[in-house]
Symmetry: C2
Subunit: 207 residues, 2 copies
DNA sequence: GCAGTTGAAGCACGATTGTGCTAAAAAGAC
DNA sequence: GTCTTTTTAGCACAATCGTGCTTCAACTGC
């Protein structure tokens, strides 16, 4: 029989190379030749594991979505294990929201790649299904979080609006942190999130 | 002397072609040949008005910034002419914030092109100066608006945080409206903005 | 040892890109 | 009409891209 290699691990190596290239040089530079160079392989070898350039990129998109969604769901579980209103709960919520921000090197690469694929999905239809899945996954977690943070008495449409508002603020923060890192520092991210959460908590006090 | 043409108008025609291509096919498709085709010219003709591809794109970036910033500043003037707290003032504020959202075809093209160049500026240094100018211009208007909306008693750092928060929410809304237009409808944009403004107004009531 | 499957690598082709350069056409100045 | 300058157009070259196809090495099962 054949030469046996861990195909899954090799594929992941190539995907990691894709991530590094996108983070440093953008999605448009993630060509087969560049990816092969970065992964230390030949073009033909990369094409052995991925039938086409599109398949490689779509799979990379899928991987980064799973990574981010996985972190979000784990963080949501941590939030659920804290008593609502407690300082630990507040901290867990901040930790969850921070998963979508480039607060360290690893997350910076992830959200950068994530944003690159999502914006590319507007043009390239191959990315559209994964982009929709990505949006559903993140919106689900943020929706659950908003339901935890707001009193049950709130009407459904207010919950939806607040979830979309939190999601928009998060994406905007992420965008600014990636594009204008001089202005949008980690400290400013936290301040904005704190202010937003204070505004959320104050919602029901105004009726 | 020579054949006389309105060089400025011709340049604007080419820039308009660039906008259409970026809005429909993305920045990476805005090559000289595509732009020339879209403008009904030959490549050599386009190159007569723009020395290089970079100059064309940077100039296009500059034009879209001026358009958006111009609309924002005009809208800010309208806000200033209304009594703070009045319904007309509220409506003028919503109109200002809506200038950054793809609520009609014209603004959709503008913000789409704007976002494309800003994200490209992370990678291509030629775009960086204009991206910084863009950020300063928009942040200045939003900052002025926040100063109008919040009581003078607020501390400086709270004003800054709230300005960045509003800016982030706006950019996030814009991103969602462009990328996930099925979920982020014009109605949802308005609801989110209303909720955000209510949260802003409620700030000083909580101290 | 042999055979057969898989991994790894590379060639070649057409398409697309930016750009240096050339050349023809157009129109006001004389 | 002739000259001059702008405008418009096009060619050619190197670089890059995805991909069909072939080739060679490696390693397992017998």
């Amino acid at each position: 029989m054949p030469k046996i290699v861990d195909a899954g691990a090799r594929r992941q190596d190539v995907v990691d190379a894709v991530f590094r290239i996108i983070a440093s040089d953008g999605l448009e530079r993630a060509s087969l030749r560049e990816v092969a160079d970065e992964a230390g392989l030949a073009v033909g070898s990369v094409r052995h594991y991925f039938a086409s350039s599109d398949e490689l990129l779509v799979h990379s998109f899928s991987v980064v979505i799973d990574r981010i969604a996985g972190r979000l769901e784990a963080a949501l579980e941590s939030v659920r294990q804290e008593a609502p209103g407690s300082p630990a709960h507040h901290e867990a919520v901040l930790l969850l929201l921070g998963q979508l921000l480039p607060l360290d090197e690893e997350k910076a690469v992830d959200v950068c790649v994530w944003l690159a694929f999502r914006t590319a999905a507007r043009i390239k239809p191959v990315f559209a299904p994964e982009a929709a899945r990505s949006h559903r996954a993140v919106a689900a977690v943020v929706g659950q979080l908003v339901m935890q943070l707001l009193p049950d008495s709130e009407q459904q449409d207010i919950l939806v609006t607040e979830a979309e508002r939190l999601l928009a603020t998060l994406d905007g923060l992420c965008l600014h942190a990636l594009l204008q890192s001089e202005w949008m520092t980690a400290r400013m991210c936290r301040d904005v999130l704190e202010a937003h959460l204070a505004g959320l908590g104050g919602l029901f006090q105004r009726g």
